[in-house]
Amino acid sequence: MKSRSQDQSLSDSRELDRSYDPLTGNPPSKPNKKTIKQRLLKLLPCCRSGSSSSITQSNISDDDELSTVRYRPEGLDRLVQQTNFTKKELQVLYRGFKNECPSGVVNEETFKSIYSQFFPHGDSSMYAHFLFEAFDTQNNGSVNFEDFVISLSIILRGSINDKLNWAFNLYDLNKDGCITREEMTDIMGSIYDMMGKYTYPCMKDNASKEHVDNFFQKMDKNKDGVVTIEEFLDTCQKDESIMQSMHMFDNVI
């Protein structure tokens, strides 16, 4: 007749030493700190109802901020104009999007969790972060359906130049129009992180640095240490393999 889950938690005396909350199994939660006055008031029956409501209200408003946000995209027709998707495609996209994110926006945590499921071998959080920044064109910390679909339109239905522009935008972390060596190192590092530890051949520590050097050697024509958009476009257009592979993902949706 022992309680099942509480067994382990009460078998040691952690709750006595205040490092452990026996009811929830977590470290004691901070927001419920009450002043001594509030605790004494709680004991008295007359003041109970009055004090409790004032305490809880502030908690609710903090926690539910994200869940009360509801976002509705603009009309379907406008989106059809803005993007290169057909109406049907937009419908399918929106249904999937809304199913996964009923609130209408995607936040960075969701991005990271999705990518961690797709790339379980390594650590994809940095890359997801960079990608999120690339999608979040309005820089407000969340990606709504318009951002999502406009970016997808560029990637999937745009011209080769649009796609290259988008890729450049992804690499350019501070969006200042040029890719510095540090930015490139960060991006490259995040991509290599996704590979994880167990690779063949073994991942050397300077693999990503080598790759960055390679990239700069190829792209940086005037050797000034940064790659501008023109250099980037120029080099890529001259590279046959890159041009051919640009159409690879056109049919994913």
Binding site: K2, K88, G96, N99, L156, F249
Partner: protein, 638 residues
């Protein structure tokens, strides 16, 4: 991967464009996706309730029925929808799983029905969401326990012994289950009576009786009627010893038996007597001997074999051992605390009864259990305050574990009630099962007769059809095919043993190998010598079988045919069989006479007499001459 992630995959692939300018090597070709890009709405009709969903929704889980091509088997071209003949209420939950990725367990549904639906749709129950998982697991465990109880009750103690059990096994069985034989029952009551007598004697012998004439001192009855009590004690102990030795002999595992609780109680109950016999009349040891006699009171525990309530109580206490332990521990803690406090509070007062802390234990216990004898009372104010706190807390501490013990007892008690009810209904259920079996057997026989009547005179075949479903026709045909295949006839289980023993004299007999179905009905046809005593068992609806001995030579021997019917596997089919039996024509008791060629069918009396046992003349019920083909046996009485 979860469905949700699958939705994001196209997007992740699209975002891979970002890797293209950085790639060291050329990218691999993408997989060719032949599926139609446009999404379509599928119509799923579940027992008339139409559900509509996107094809993509169902495709999220390709290992299930609805997500794979398996659903094409259920596609109805005419109505352009997928039709499932299942429960629409359950389907709602299944479809929600596809939509949301979480499977919920509806609390008002039977757990078995839900499991079956999941199994049908190819969904693994382990993916039930956390919100419903605990409830699901609890219900499932409860159901399994209940099923285990059912099977235990089914194969319970009332099953008849295998025929070749030793006397030891039978003896053990008699001890464990007194209802099996009258002897066991008698012994059971006798021992119960003697336990009661022994306990009463123990009690009464301490009551003061009137003293002997001429003596002033009052004596306890035990000393006044010393001899009478001694004789009674001896008789009881003899019975108990005999019982114990018998049990020890009959026990399948003697070591295990000797370690069991009841055996220990038995030994403890009778040991004092023997020790008393052996011990000399010595002053020193007789004190110890008197103490030993206390153990005679343990005889009352022998009643637990006789009383189910006692057993339940004992089992409850055993299963609540942890709660009782907790109660004891917390009480001890409280007693020590309060005793210490009271002792120090009352220390100064003159004439205080709180002489030491152990002495205060008594006060604390009496106060906490709210007894309040009043032999120790605090006098100081501090003592009184702490004493009142002590009594208040005592009520609380004792009241806490008690509901747990009570609920445990209630659960075990109800379990027991359920088991008893199952056992009581057992007989009725077995009777129904037997009736159902006989019903199908009769059906086959009836079918055979009808068919064979139909053969010679084909005009009357319409009369013979009676009220049989297509299913029955096909089933009977199948059994007939089996008979033909093996060249044997189905026969009655009850006649099998007799027919084994009797031999035919001068008659052809078919091969006597027996076909046994998993019901155990045997299949045999042997000739019966007309001169031997013939017995016939009639098939009746009731459990009892009537054997009729035929003395008359004039009559045909008959063989009773019983088919090996398909046993009702489920309760629903039990119901089905009951209905079918009503449809079978007329008298359930009939036999068929088997006649072989080349002689023409002998005369057979075909009156349908009601079954009644006749001492000399056997009664043929509803017999008809059936003409069989070459391989059947002719038995004629002349």
């Amino acid at each position: 991967m979860a469905a949700g992630v699958a939705t994001w995959l196209p997007f992740a692939r699209a975002a891979a464009v970002g890797w293209l300018p950085l790639a060291k090597k050329t990218m691999p070709k993408p997989p060719i996706d032949n599926s139609s890009k446009s999404d379509e709405i599928l119509y799923v009709n579940v027992s008339g309730v139409r559900f509509q969903t996107w094809k993509n929704t169902l495709d999220r889980y390709p290992e299930t029925l609805l997500g794979s091509s398996e659903k094409e088997f259920f596609y109805n071209e005419d109505t352009q929808e997928y039709f499932f003949d299942r429960d629409p209420e359950m389907f709602r939950h299944i479809l929600n799983f596809y939509r949301t990725g979480k499977l919920h367990y509806p609390r008002n549904e039977c757990i078995q029905a839900f499991d079956e639906e999941l199994a049908f749709y190819g969904i693994v129950p382990e993916i039930i969401g956390d919100c419903c998982m605990e409830e699901y697991r609890d219900r499932k465990k409860e159901n399994q326990e209940r099923l285990a109880e059912d099977t235990e009750a089914n194969e319970g103690m009332d099953a008849p012994l295998p025929p070749n059990s030793t006397s030891r096994e039978r003896l053990w069985r008699a001890f464990e289950n007194p209802h099996t034989s009258t002897m066991a029952l008698v012994f059971y009551y006798v021992t119960g009576f003697f336990i009661a007598v022994s306990v009463i004697a123990n009690v009464v012998e301490t009551v003061p009786c009137r003293p002997h004439k001429g003596s002033a001192k009052e004596l306890p009855c035990g000393e006044k009627y010393h001899l009478a009590f001694f004789c009674m004690d001896t008789a009881c102990v003899l019975i108990f010893t005999f019982e114990y030795l018998m049990r020890l002999f009959a026990a399948p595992s003697r070591c295990k038996f000797m370690r069991s609780v009841m055996s220990v109680i038995d030994v403890v109950a009778i040991m004092p007597y023997y020790i008393g016999l052996v011990m000399p009349e010595n002053e020193d040891v007789s004190g110890a001997f008197v103490t030993l006699r206390v153990f005679r009171v343990f005889r009352i525990f022998k009643f637990s074999r006789h009383s189910q309530g006692l057993r339940i109580l004992g089992y409850t206490l055993k299963s609540c051992a942890s709660e009782l332990g907790f109660l004891l521990f917390s009480l001890t803690m409280a007693i020590i605390i309060f005793a210490t406090v009271m002792f120090y509070a009352e220390k100064g007062t003159k004439g205080s009864t709180f002489t030491s802390i152990p002495a205060s234990f008594w006060y604390t216990i009496v106060t906490m259990t709210t007894l309040g004898y009043g032999d120790m009372v605090p006098n100081t104010i501090a003592g009184k305050i702490f004493g009142s706190i002590c009594s208040l807390s005592g009520v609380l501490v004792i009241a806490l574990p008690v509901p747990v013990i009570v609920s445990n007892f209630s659960r075990i008690y109800h379990q027991n009630q359920r088991a008893d009810k199952m056992r009581a209904q057992q007989k009725v259920r077995m009777a129904r099962i037997r009736m159902a079996k006989k019903g199908t057997a009769n059906a086959f026989l009836q079918y055979k007769e009808d068919r064979n009547i139909g053969d010679p005179d084909g005009d009357n075949s319409a009369l013979c059809v009676k009220n049989r479903s297509a299913f029955e026709h096909q089933h009977n045909h199948l059994l007939h095919c089996l008979e033909k295949t093996t060249n044997h006839e189905f026969t009655n289980e009850m006649n099998y043993s007799e027919l084994c023993m009797t031999e035919s004299v001068g008659y052809r007999t078919s091969r006597s190998t027996s076909l046994s179905s998993h019901q155990g009905a045997q299949n045999n046809s042997t000739g019966c010598c007309p001169r031997r005593a013939r017995r016939r068992a009639a098939m009746r609806l009731a459990n009892s079988t009537v054997s009729v001995s035929r003395g008359s030579v004039q009559e045909l021997d008959t063989l009773h045919l019983k088919t090996t019917s398909i046993p009702p596997q489920t309760r629903s089919s039990l119901n089905a069989q009951m209905c079918d039996m009503k449809l079978n024509c007329g008298d359930q008791d009939f036999t068929a006479a088997i006649i072989s060629i080349p002689t023409p069918p002998a005369n057979s009396p075909d009156e349908s007499l009601p079954p009644s046992p006749a001492p000399i003349l056997g009664i043929l019920r509803n017999t008809r001459a059936t003409a069989y083909t070459q391989d059947s046996v002719k038995i004629s009485s002349l």
